[in-house]
Symmetry: C2
Subunit: 340 residues, 2 copies
């Protein structure tokens, strides 16, 4: 299950969330910070809702199991919703709605994450990058999939700027004093990401509201740790650990609406095809085109399904390290072929 989630990220071009993270998950399992044999179970439910206890399992395993419960409830009564407590990082948010789309449902997935984002007017980290993902089935076209962190940008973009020594655009970050900064180091050294909208003039209160919504649905509703109390993803990032606990682990929220709970699925999907054609035809800036949500990931999927997934040397070394320690045979040439 975990391999399927990670491979989906790599195939869809989201390198930051694929096997590049395997070593971090592996360390958490080795350190027994994550339960390798979780008893994932429903602790509260109605016909269309449930709360699931992830038993501190890998989010990559708890997530697919909980999402499946949401889809089963939707199949039975038209929509299904599952809040998850006591879980860990679940990979790309967009993986889960794709499971719903396969059954002609509109799927939703959210998760809270360890604090990185300052609220509008705030100057300290209080919320995670708290993504929202939604998948919508089409007819002849691939599904429309949106998958967005509710911060101005994901933390990965700051890390990349730092690695290559670049400055960042204005509106991404503040430093530890709360001052706007374009220096990635200044954010990483106790600063914070800004919410979607960047500043009050451009409505950063809206990004803050959306992030707060995700935090409430995933963590307050499920009984997980919310806001600044969400535990860190990796052992190495213990810097965000906090003494106070207000629940168990981090939280996810999954859901799906059956399209035919509203109108015949074929009718809906034909309209979605028309919707896609209409938006693709939008008059655009010179040299640009208007994309359909999910286009970049689909293009990567098409290319990588044929040519393979390029991995950086650092990731291959990480994989080799895991192989050596646990005794799984490792053939480096496979990776060299893929990386061409």
């Amino acid at each position: 299950m975990a391999a399927d989630v990670l491979a989906a990220a790599d195939l869809r071009g989201i390198d930051s969330h694929g096997v590049a993270r395997l070593h971090a998950y592996y360390e958490l399992l080795q350190a027994k910070a994550i339960n390798p044999t979780p008893d994932v179970r429903i602790i509260h439910e109605t016909p269309s809702t449930a709360t699931v206890d992830g038993d501190n399992g890998l989010g990559l395993v708890v997530g697919p199991k909980a999402n499946k419960i949401a889809l089963e409830k939707a199949k039975a009564v038209g929509s299904g919703w599952v809040a998850v407590q006591n879980t860990n990082h679940y990979g790309i948010a967009g993986y889960y709605p794709l499971q719903a789309v396969e059954q002609d449902m509109i799927g939703v997935s959210m998760t809270n994450t360890t604090k990185l984002v300052a609220p509008c007017f705030g100057i300290e980290r209080m919320l995670g990058t708290n993504p929202i993902a939604v998948g919508v089935p089409c007819g002849k076209y691939p599904p429309v999939v949106l998958d967005l962190a509710t911060s101005a940008v994901a933390f990965g973009k700051v890390e990349i700027a730092n690695r290559v020594g670049a400055t960042m655009p204005e509106g991404w970050c503040i430093d530890k004093e709360g001052k706007p900064t374009t220096d990635p180091k200044a954010m990483m050294d106790g600063g914070a990401l800004l919410p979607l909208g960047s500043d009050r003039d451009r409505s950063s209160h809206k990004g803050y509201c959306l992030s707060a919504w995700v935090d409430i649905m995933t963590a307050v509703l499920s009984g997980a740790n919310w806001g600044p109390f969400a535990p860190p993803f990796t052992l190495r990032s213990g810097v965000n650990a906090t003494e106070k606990r207000v629940g168990k682990g981090i939280g996810h929220f999954f859901g799906a609406w059956r399209v035919d709970g509203f109108r015949p699925a074929d009718e809906f999907k034909a309209q979605m095809d028309d919707w896609v054609d209409t938006f693709r035809a939008t008059k655009a800036e010179p040299g640009k085109k208007v994309l359909i949500p999910g286009d970049p990931e689909r293009e990567a999927l098409e290319e990588r399904s044929v040519s393979g997934v390029p991995l950086t040397e650092a990731v291959v070394v990480d994989l080799e390290d895991i192989s050596k320690t646990i005794g799984v045979p490792f053939d480096r040439t496979v990776f060299e072929v893929d990386a061409e």
Copy 2:
């Protein structure tokens, strides 16, 4: 019902959506562009979902009726979801989740609106300001309520800048050539609002995705007119009318999750109180404080519940005009007292 929705807007300080709009609704009714006696009915349903045909009624009446169906379904099976076709402008999005909150539910409301917003990289109006509102019950504190247009700003802010002859901050609008502009006239003269995020560097693709999501849930799912085909709100704004129709009227989407579908409501509400205290205590910029979603509206509600709702002269003249035409007695002194 309509009066309750409009009064809620005025009491909560959202003057643009209160009785200031009564004359526009009145004109639509007089012109028989809106059906004054709609047969609002369910045309498709499952235990937790339904599609409602608003029979071209006032959104201010169709909305509350459809939202009530969502709440009844949530009461029965844990969550309830209603898509609405063949309806009209429904007032403030935040009105509807407040009905859910009263029953210890988390409520959601969305609507599409006539086109004003360009997609990321686009240079023409394709989407409405498509708001998302969510209400969450607390224990000792008032509910947390978020209510946000998915554009960088609401059109009302452009109108205000135009009225007072001010320039706008960068990141709100483009002109009819698709160039960034700070001149409100340039937007109003065939330009467009930008999605939340403002530009690609600051993630306007995310605002576009959220607006697209609202468009799909409210209009494609219900069988209403989606995207650029959503009809205009007022008779006067016929400039956005289009020949092509892809459904009936505009669309809404309402829903609610029963809190006790996930965990005991008292437990949840106690955690929400702690959540509110925690976020209020965020370290903030000098002279600022971190707000809880819904704070500005609550402050207006407290003040106006005591001192009344200030109306501009133009609105009072509008009300007087309606009174004269339909023969309802009009006492101007009432308004003069309220406006002090």
